[in-house]
Symmetry: C2
Amino acid sequence: MTDSPKGDLLPGTLEMLILATLRREPLHGYAIAQRIQRNSDDLLRVEEGSLYPALQRMLIEGWVSAEWGMSARNRRVRIYTLTAAGAKQLGRETARVGRMIDGIARVMRPSEA
Amino acid sequence: MTDSPKGDLLPGTLEMLILATLRREPLHGYAIAQRIQRNSDDLLRVEEGSLYPALQRMLIEGWVSAEWGMSARNRRVRIYTLTAAGAKQLGRETARVGRMIDGIARVMRPSEA
DNA sequence: ATCTATGCATAGACAACCTTGGCATTCGTA
DNA sequence: TACGAATGCCAAGGTTGTCTATGCATAGAT
């Protein structure tokens, strides 16, 4: 992957991004990372060493389920599906992060401070 | 302080918020935390155990300078001032966080995913 | 044959935040 | 005059979450 545009994430937003990415359709891990990178227009990038541990945590929490399958490229893949609990969690996290970003915006605007 | 509305921050944004808060005028630590909480309409809250270590780091980096003084309530306080390097850093951080929030928004919007 | 992309996953390092606790002073109030 | 609440600074330790580095394996292209 040579180099890449470089762009980590804001800690505390990864699981929300994964859940949001799984809203439309189940995806395997590798594809999730690519979607996030592509959908963010290369602004965000998810490292595999962050992605898979996050998926493990979310499996344990019951926010996603997983099953083995085959990718379009004929490779063995683990496909993750958003659960009802995961959808609920997505709502909570979206609200939480939204509040924080709202708060950040208020502190940052020049009229304040 | 009884209870409080509860609301931590998005990790990776604290120093930016402090720098932004010092744009207008020098402030002492305790006042910085209160400003952020008040200016964010109680959406954000800075714990003292996060604030002071952050100020130490920023002193070392040269983004703020500090001197002892007296508060309006006649108390011994350490007053922090934004340096030129700090202003530059504020610009960089603002851009970085802005990009990430932009990226998050793109991933989260229903048309994507 | 070898390289690149695809794909899953773990271990360890590291940064940054929070919790807890400690210390000291001022001011209001009972 | 004693006491609590608010103001103020700071350190130690734990937790969490990310990244880096590494390992393994296979498909497809050159």
